[in-house]
């Protein structure tokens, strides 16, 4: 019981720290808890980097706006294990530095340039659907 109490104290401490830091601590880790299926965007740009990390990879896409300014979007996707099972590599996703179009969901918390990938379309005509189409 002592250990349980210690654990609860630790939990309370962690909660306090995170509640101070962010209001999203009591939040969800799933896609729909973070991204809005009603707020879609189609991005055109070049994949400049992929963070091949757990629990989800992040795809960085350089997108040029009408003013000629480039913004870099960070797009979350599936765990690396999904892609390993599908035998999709980092290089395959990168698309050789060619322009791609990416269908994505924007972040619910309105963080700019943050999204979740549904599909990536490549100029050669093929595409990867990485997520359930929410």
């Amino acid at each position: 019981m002592l250990h349980v109490q210690m654990r609860l104290r630790l939990c309370a401490w962690i909660s306090a720290v995170f509640l101070t830091a962010t209001s999203s601590v009591c939040a969800h880790h799933s896609v729909l808890g973070q991204f809005d299926p009603e707020d879609r965007v189609m991005l055109s740009g070049v994949i400049s980097k992929i963070d091949w990390i757990n629990p989800h990879i992040y795809v960085h896409v350089d997108v040029e706006n009408e003013s000629g300014e480039t913004t870099t979007w960070r797009l979350e996707s599936v765990p690396p294990a999904y892609l390993y099972k599908a035998e999709v590599t980092q290089g395959m996703l990168m698309g050789g530095g060619n322009p791609v179009r990416i269908e994505a969901l924007r972040a619910r918390d309105e963080t700019q340039y943050l999204g979740f990938i549904i599909r990536i379309y490549y100029p050669e005509g093929h595409h990867y659907q990485l997520s359930i189409d929410y």
Binding site: C11, S30, G33, N54, P55, E76, A81, A86, H126, Q129
Partner: protein, 264 residues
């Protein structure tokens, strides 16, 4: 008359004995063995951890990785295994479960503990010890299981994956692990444990299948030992790769508090 009867009985007994010997021989032959005579558990074992619901579907030159399941229906996801807690601890489990996203250590890339980590992804077996390797969503992990009769270590502190020792019971490798810290859960639903958690895993090989079963003992909080549903991993020629690092980046952007299923 007695001679005939005795002869008939002898034939029956010999037939039964021969059949039994054949069965024994078949069983023995179906178990590949190492130089020490124990079953050979070496190999890379695919247990479907976390990706059984991923069924990629090729469409021309395109590939659908998720969201195509309706076209290739697979087995339904199993009902989660859950330990049974004593009444006085149910509210704690419920509270942790309700706040899973903020409390589940595995969601923040901490090692998942045992038995939550599941069957090993690769086994390296030498006469004095067996090494378990894991490619987990929380990162790469290993466990060293001495099988030379030594006792649990006394020179190390509690850890996420504990301290393991193993022995053979016939053709079954039995691994007992103790000395866990309190920063792991048994499942994804707030199933905490005490530092007195003891886990016994049983592994056996049948052809290209690795049978895995685990039981968690934590009598201070559980009503009874928790026996996990047995699992089967399959020998694969696809070599294990190191897990990419686990770097959590989602928490600050999450806006609701629904449960994150992470059934293993």
């Amino acid at each position: 008359m007695n001679i005939v009867r005795n002869l008939w009985i002898s034939v029956v007994v010999m037939t039964i004995s021969t059949t039994a010997l054949d069965l024994h021989a078949q069983t023995a032959e179906s178990v590949q063995r190492g130089p020490d005579g124990h079953p050979d558990l070496n190999g890379t074992w695919f247990n479907g951890d976390g990706v059984t619901h991923v069924r990629p579907l090729q469409k021309g030159n395109s590939l659908c990785i998720r969201g195509c399941e309706a076209e290739t229906p697979g087995p339904p996801r199993l009902t989660p295994d859950r330990p049974s807690y004593k009444t006085g601890f149910l509210s704690i489990v419920s509270d942790l479960d309700n706040r899973q996203v903020e409390e589940d250590p595995a969601l923040r890339c901490f090692p998942p503990g045992v038995p939550r980590i599941g069957p090993p992804d690769k086994i390296i077996q030498i006469p004095s010890q067996i090494i378990f390797l894991y490619n987990d969503i929380t990162g790469s992990h290993f466990r060293i299981v001495p099988t030379d009769g030594r006792s649990h270590r006394t020179d190390i502190g509690p850890s996420y994956l504990g301290d393991a020792v193993g022995h053979w019971e016939g053709d079954i490798l039995v691994v007992e692990t103790t000395n866990f810290n309190e920063d792991t859960w048994l499942t994804d639903d707030g199933s905490f444990h005490t530092p007195d958690l003891r886990v016994v895993e049983r592994l056996s090989r049948e052809g290209s299948s690795l049978h895995y079963q685990a039981t968690a003992f934590d009598p201070a909080v559980l009503t009874e030992p928790w026996e996990l549903r047995p699992r089967v991993a399959t020998l694969t020629a696809r070599e294990l790769v190191p897990a990419p690092p686990c770097i959590e980046q989602d928490i600050d952007h999450i806006v609701d508090g629904t449960h994150h299923d992470n059934v293993r």
